[in-house]
Symmetry: C2
Subunit: 207 residues, 2 copies
DNA sequence: TTCTTCATGTAATTAGTTACATGATTGA
DNA sequence: TCAATCATGTAACTAATTACATGAAGAA
């Protein structure tokens, strides 16, 4: 046991999916697209790799099915896998990571034009709206009691609550930032601070 | 020109810092710790690597200073570098990426105990408070007009506004999620959905 | 004068992505 | 029967991290 390299958070993400039911690799990629990818995004090819590692560690089993003539691999969790998952859940885990190219561009907006900054903010709002639309559609299926994993609603809604708030935050923030940038001159490096908005930030952060 | 591998977003993050002033590599790592790392986190060693790439591309120049007897490298931007930065700012950039081990653990909370989930939420709140405290301290220096890069306040406050809202979001969300989890039985896989909270999510997402 | 922290960097490793390849199924 | 899309996987590459190494400065 415990051959191969160490398990990563991504390994546990896959293992977590396996606690729900057995999946073929392709089905795993679907879940990545639909749900898991919103808070633990990974490329498809990872999803073909990680389950093999789980098998090496004895946490999952692979079985080969025939799909027409073509074989496919279905993974299911082992008892040892369930224990490993429970043990992983016992430690709280790292805080969230935010990575935003758009924030980066705004942070350095004084090296570009006011129009650039407004375009970036527009893209941010567009992104938020798109994601929110998807998210809303999913949430509605749970309310209707028709979700594929309806029995996991109590867990799913915790994450759904976060994402809902996050998309709304991006939208509201981009709107606010837009009102700021609109007051800038064409050359952003000469933008004057909006003292009221600045003290407002401090007020909001003072909790 | 254009030798070596292509520029990445991380390259432009460094280039952006160079638009502000010349920096030694160590000073760059400081900025990563203090500001940039909040929305474009990268390991120190990257900050020793990327500037070399900028030099290869003709976007920055390296000069060697003496710090006592030990040499150190200071990087400054070239005219071509400023143009490259301006050109990069002309495209809006990808939407934000969120990566959260804590959300992952909550999503799979039914494979662990109720106490595990509460501990994870506690850690999330702790994280939010810590980050917010830092953030608040920085914001106050800007209000006081004493920030090191006070002339960049208009750009910085856009990012500051986002981070402030984000930390507040994590805290509020973790508190809300805590009230949900407290209603769970010891075995989270038997948790009943809180219909009111669920419809509330849909209501909030419906904008 | 020794210890610690600040400062400067390189090397080894790995996690993750992009690109490619191709079989099966469905619908026009 | 042809094209498009779904499904299954591998290979090559690279961005990024972790670990290591060590000089200089300041404190005890």
């Amino acid at each position: 046991m415990s051959r191969g390299s160490a398990l990563t958070t991504t390994s546990y993400a896959i293992l977590g999916l396996l606690t729900v039911q057995p999946w073929s690799t392709y089905e795993l990629t679907q879940q990545m697209d639909r749900s898991l990818g919103r808070f633990w995004p990974r490329a498809q090819s990872k999803l073909y790799e990680e389950p093999k590692k789980l098998v090496e560690h004895g946490l999952a089993e692979a079985s080969t099915e025939r799909m027409g003539k073509r074989p496919r691999t279905v993974y299911s969790i082992t008892e040892q896998g369930r224990e490993a998952m429970a043990s992983w859940l016992r430690t709280p885990g790292d805080g969230p990571l935010v990575e935003s190219e758009q924030l980066l561009k705004l942070f350095f907006a004084d090296a570009g034009t006011r129009a650039d900054a407004l375009a970036t903010l527009g893209a941010a709002r567009g992104w938020a709206r798109e994601r929110n639309t998807e998210n809303l559609a999913v949430a509605r299926t749970y309310v209707a009691g028709e979700a594929r994993f309806q029995h996991r609603v109590a867990q799913t809604m915790l994450v759904g609550g976060f994402l809902t708030e996050f998309y709304a935050l991006v939208d509201r923030w981009a709107e606010w930032a837009g009102t700021q940038v609109e007051r800038w001159p064409d050359d952003p490096s000469e933008a004057q601070p909006d003292q009221a908005a600045l003290t407002d930030i401090v007020r909001k952060a003072d909790w």
